[in-house]
């Protein structure tokens, strides 16, 4: 029998202190019994002599120092697992949402997991075709990558994430996949959008949903992504599935972290977020990838809203320092009706270099995106110049860059929400757009590729007009 303590002495914010305890372990799970018979969960944040500092996931409202009792369970928070988690819904602590979400567990795992030995990792290098040109062509996603979407409130990040989940395919392969969808503090409506989309495509039966919505306890969000990742690791590395995990919204997670840190009166780091937030986030984001000799993989797409659209805010900043690139959405693109509004220049996929090229996408892919980037960056500079001096003052070549940047946004970046472009369509589109330049401007592309590909597209645009449609619908 576990000993029950009624020695809560101090309650403040999401924290409480229990005194005269014995044998309490750091990080262990705590069961809290309320006066009315209901129960809550907590986690030990610190033990100091006979005092234990406890973080209460459901908040401390209603807890009192006399009638509330506390039990220490002797182990960390565990997630109960079996292949039947697919198609089920769990709350933010990993408990079944309703009776029909109950499973017969095959095993249980501590939600904190253990660090993957860097030596046991296998490098992610399998190209995932998302059907979105701005991703496939320029910021290629590979299996096992962690690639967040940095967004702003009101931008269509959910539509993009759902499109990725819907269209993602590894060329020439039919393999077992699963989706883990982790909601942290998003609205019912937002979460329902994903659920409806998964239901439409049938992916719902291959999905695990971990839901902590806006009206669920905020502190629970500390556990939520870890619950999801524990499911993902189980499915990927024990059940050989290719798992796509969507974590939204990481900003709400970070706010919960901040709240606890403030309650502990820790010395705050930048803008009030705890100094250890980098390390804490890393223990989430690094739980992605591939492992030598294992068939499955975990691809992570965290979504986070940048407070005030500010990329240097600690949440996106620290995330960018950990993840393998980022897809950034732009409000001004959104206003200009560029859809998806992917801000191409600051977006980046760091793993693209190993996932593209001959035998993966196409031999000319690397040179082509380098050139598209360089030309588009120059085009954007020229556009700025034109704002001051007027278009007429531009040199002839700059006029071409000006037009190129416009077309690039309208034709290459923009595409339909249900438009699934093949990688060849994406690459060809790039060539078509570049063919307006004199060959001497295309310095980033090797001669052999210019010789081979440019003539195929040069003809079509000899009338100096670009008439390309995107891929087919």
């Amino acid at each position: 029998m576990l000993k029950e303590y009624r020695s809560i002495t101090n309650i403040s914010g999401p924290l409480m202190i229990v005194e005269e305890v014995e044998g309490v372990k750091y990080e262990e799970l705590v069961e809290i019994k309320m006066d009315d018979g209901s129960s809550r969960n907590g986690r030990v944040l610190e033990v100091n002599n006979d005092k234990a500092l406890i973080q209460v996931f459901e908040g401390t409202t209603g807890i009192d120092t006399e009638k509330t009792s506390v039990k220490f369970t002797g182990k960390g928070i565990h997630m109960y697992l079996s292949p039947d988690i697919l198609g089920k819904i769990f709350n933010g602590l990993g408990r079944p949402k309703s009776a029909k979400d109950q499973i017969l567990p095959e095993k249980s795992l501590d939600i904190n997991g253990s660090p993957i030995n860097p030596y046991s990792r296998d490098y992610p290098n399998e190209f995932i075709q998302t059907g979105i040109s701005a991703i496939d062509g320029l910021n290629t996603l590979v299996r096992g990558q962690k690639l967040p979407i940095f967004t702003g409130s009101g931008l269509p990040h959910n539509r993009i994430a759902a499109q990725i989940a819907r269209q993602s395919a590894v060329l020439g392969k039919e393999e077992e996949f699963a989706v883990v969808f982790v909601a942290m503090g998003i609205t019912f409506e937002e979460s329902q959008y994903f659920i409806d989309d998964f239901t439409k495509t049938g992916a719902i039966n291959r999905s695990v949903l971990i839901l902590n919505l806006a009206d669920d306890p905020a502190i629970e969000r500390i556990a939520t992504p870890r619950v999801g990742l524990t499911c993902a690791e189980y499915l990927a590395f024990e059940k050989n599935m290719h798992v796509l995990i969507i974590l939204t919204d990481m900003t709400n997670y970070c706010e919960a972290l901040k709240e606890i840190s403030a309650a502990r009166k820790e010395v705050p780091g930048r803008r009030g977020y705890p100094g250890y937030m980098y390390t804490d986030l890393a223990t989430i984001y690094e739980r992605a990838g591939r492992i030598k000799g294992k068939k499955g993989s975990i691809t992570q797409i965290p979504i986070l809203t940048m407070p005030e659209d500010d990329k240097t805010h600690p949440i996106p900043d620290l995330t960018g320092y950990i993840t393998e690139g980022q897809i950034i959405l732009s409000r001004s693109f959104h206003k200009k009706k560029i859809s998806p509004p992917i801000d191409v220049l600051p977006s980046l996929s760091r793993l693209k270099d190993k996932g593209i090229g001959k035998d993966k996408t196409r031999e000319d892919h690397a040179d082509l995106f380098n050139q598209l980037y360089a030309a588009y960056a120059r085009g954007k500079e020229v556009q700025e110049l034109a704002v001051i001096l007027g278009e007429a003052a531009l040199s002839d070549i700059d006029k071409i860059y000006f037009k190129f940047a416009e077309d690039f946004e309208a034709i290459y970046v923009s595409q339909g929400e249900y438009e699934n472009r093949t990688i060849d369509q994406t690459l060809d589109l790039g060539w078509k757009l570049l063919s307006v330049f004199p060959r001497t401007e295309l310095k980033r592309i090797r001669d052999e590729f210019l010789d081979k590909y440019l003539p195929l597209f040069k003809k079509e645009s000899s009338d100096k007009k670009i008439t390309v449609s995107g891929g087919e619908k």
Binding site: Y26, Y119, A282, G320
Partner: protein, 586 residues
Amino acid sequence: MEKIGNIVKVAGPLVVAKNMSGVKMYDVVFVSESRLMGEVIEIDGDLASIQVYEETGGIGVGEPVFPTNFPLTVELGPGLIESIYDGIQRPLDVIYKQEGDFISRGIQVPALDRQKKWDFTALVSEGQEVSEGDFLGYVNETSLVKHYIMVPPKLYGKVLKISSGSFTIEETIAVINDGKSDSDITMIQKWPVRIPRPYREKINPSIPLFTGQRVVDMFFPIAKGGTACVPGPFGSGKTVIQHQLAKWIDAEVIIYIGCGERGNEMTEVLLEFPELKDPKSGEPLMKRTVLIANTSNMPVAAREASVYTGITIAEYFRDMGYSVALMADSTSRWAEAMREISGRLEEMPGDEGYPAYLGARLASFYERAGCVKCLQKTDELEGAITVIGAVSPPGGDLSDPVVQATLRVVKVFWSLEARLAYARHFPAISWLNSYSLYNDNIKDFVIDNVREDYFDMQSEAMNLLEKESELEEIVRLVGIDSLSGQDRLVLLTAKMIREDFLHQNAYHEVDTYTAIDKQYKMIKTIIYFYNQAQYYLKMGADIEALENVSLSEKIARMKYIPNDETSRIDELEKEIDNEFNSLIKQ
């Protein structure tokens, strides 16, 4: 019986234990029955604060602490090269074989293989007097590293016994008598990581260490034994440049520390380095490399230690007379680990919550770099450690305390700019803000051994880039048409320098490494183009025509000419003359 302490507090990576009197600062202890390794970092009466190198979840008050009476040490000896260690020198490959894919707690594995036999060749004979640092013999550890077995520091005396043959690192290869007693010498030495290994004297760095990276070698060179830092926002190319240096820098031993960064970046090194060939010897680059990987999801305290583990191994190879290059990616994560531990100790916070001793710790780390006369007294043997640290300031803001403290001690500053990275101008090293303070140190060597007019080329090219940025201001205000032909030529040439010289694609099989000779020829050709064009402009050539000469495409493709075919670059000067001539005749 071993004296045992008792845990009274657990707060993240920090554990406090009582009953610890007699324990020394920085002693290693083992925490709880699971024997998690930790280090004493504060003593108060019989209480000791311990930073634990493993996750402390599940540890509680009352559990035991076992002192060892030894500081944190590394093992030094054959078997280091090609290893991958965590921050406290546990071999990750061995852990993988024993424990599987995930790192569990309380694993103790020796850093060096105890079973492996090495062929030892003695270099001294019995009866000879030897002193600290002298070479007793060597083993050919890899095809690139001859591993000298040295007399340990502070030992002097006569060799009583020594023999060549096949030994494990724990077997005695020699016996030395110091007049009082005999010491058995094996091929393994242990050294406390927080104490620099001794050398005879420091000397000023005077030789450039070429890296095959054009912007570095031609504009902001680093000296052998020098220090450099690479600050930049996320995604600006710190890791890629560190990897590039680890691959191509002209050093004999590479120590690469992945400190609080991504696991996949270490995997990348593990996969690539065995495949890549050292440009000098043609041998796989892995054969000169030691990896330390304490990735961001691994315990924070071990991240703090990883930097010291790395530099101590570097010193050991330096003591053999080697030129060692050490890369630390990223020193910011190391500083953050210090900050986290300091916060748990409830020390007085300084700037941004970093401890007040941040600057001192950084300075004493970089101070372990340098060119030295090695310890041995018999020859004039020189060794060097070159240290290159990445810094990851929040939001890319260079006023960050870690950047500022680093800039106070390092001599080379490669400033990475987001603006350049967005335009995919790589390496995104700003040519206007970066600097190297080694130009004077290496001047004589470069003039004698590389090219006489290397520095003239450097300053001419730099001049053009600086002028370009002034002219761009004007263009922004009044447009290109207002510029004179001469000014437009400056813009044209500066663009060539930027795009055709400074821009270097790490993923292109030829472009990834440019030998210094080729670099010189490239920049010289561009300067030649400029000087000739100036002349023809004065002779009445039209600037528009100059802007459109067809040979500019050839200049742009110089970077793709293999290092052993640079005579093709030499021919360009003639082509420049010919084409310019034809402009006048028209």
